[in-house]
Amino acid sequence: MTLLTVLWMLAGGLATVAVLLVLARIITGPTLIDRLIASDVMLTTLILVVGAEMVISGHTRTIPLMVVLAATGILGSVAVARFVSRAGAEPTGAQPDESQQTGAETALPSPEGGDDERR
């Protein structure tokens, strides 16, 4: 076993342990934000492993895959982050009548109905 093989196996083993830890966080993570952050880390790890595989196998065919993953990885996080923001506003929306009557300054054109449609 050459030094090169040992280094490659070390990198693979470390990445495997990392992915398993991240997967456990995705499964157990108490909040949706935890799961979102953990899936971000998993996507990053995926990009790194795709790159590492190119180094180990000595080819460059999957560089386009890295480009696409780096470019589109943001979409999931941003979409879920927006969704989480709206879901987080839900509990206070439980007393909408109170805020509607007392908060006359927030005379938006029926914010409740508009929001509900978007949810």
Binding site: L14, A15, L21, I33, D34, T44, G51, V55, V84, G88
Partner: protein
């Protein structure tokens, strides 16, 4: 062993070492996800391999491929990640703050709190922040 072969071997080993360092960064992020107490702290750990780890792997690919074309193809990978990683981190952090997914006692200073208080009907967690999407 000729000189060219020696140089090639050194470059290959350097690339493998960079891969190991990148894997260590990923492992550090994974451990951080378990060691930090709340989501906003975990965000700090999660963003380490996103840029530095990717740059290390990209340099490793360049060292092992040793071709200008490959280097040119690798530039957009780093550029795109540099552009998009802060945006997604910002959005996730914003959602985490609005949901109150953090321990206020761990904060040295909460500069956003004054702005939230001065906003009409703004209260954490999940207060009636006026969304930019709202009219």
């Amino acid at each position: 062993m000729s000189d060219a072969e020696t140089v090639a071997g050194i470059l290959d080993i350097a690339a493998a070492v960079l891969l190991v360092v990148a894997a260590l960064l990923t492992l550090a992020a994974a451990i951080g996800l378990w060691r930090f107490p709340d989501p906003l702290s975990r965000l700090h750990a999660a963003t380490k391999p996103q840029i530095l780890g990717l740059i290390l792997v990209v340099v490793a690919i360049a060292l092992s491929a040793r071709s200008a074309t490959v280097l040119l193809l690798l530039v957009p990978v780093v550029a795109l990640q540099l552009l998009t990683a802060p945006i997604s981190a910002h959005m996730v952090g914003r959602a985490g703050y609005r949901n109150g997914d953090f321990d206020p006692s761990t904060l040295e200073v909460d500069e956003l709190a004054a702005d939230v208080d001065s906003a009409p009907g703004g209260e954490l967690p999940g207060g009636a922040w006026e969304d930019e999407a709202a009219p």
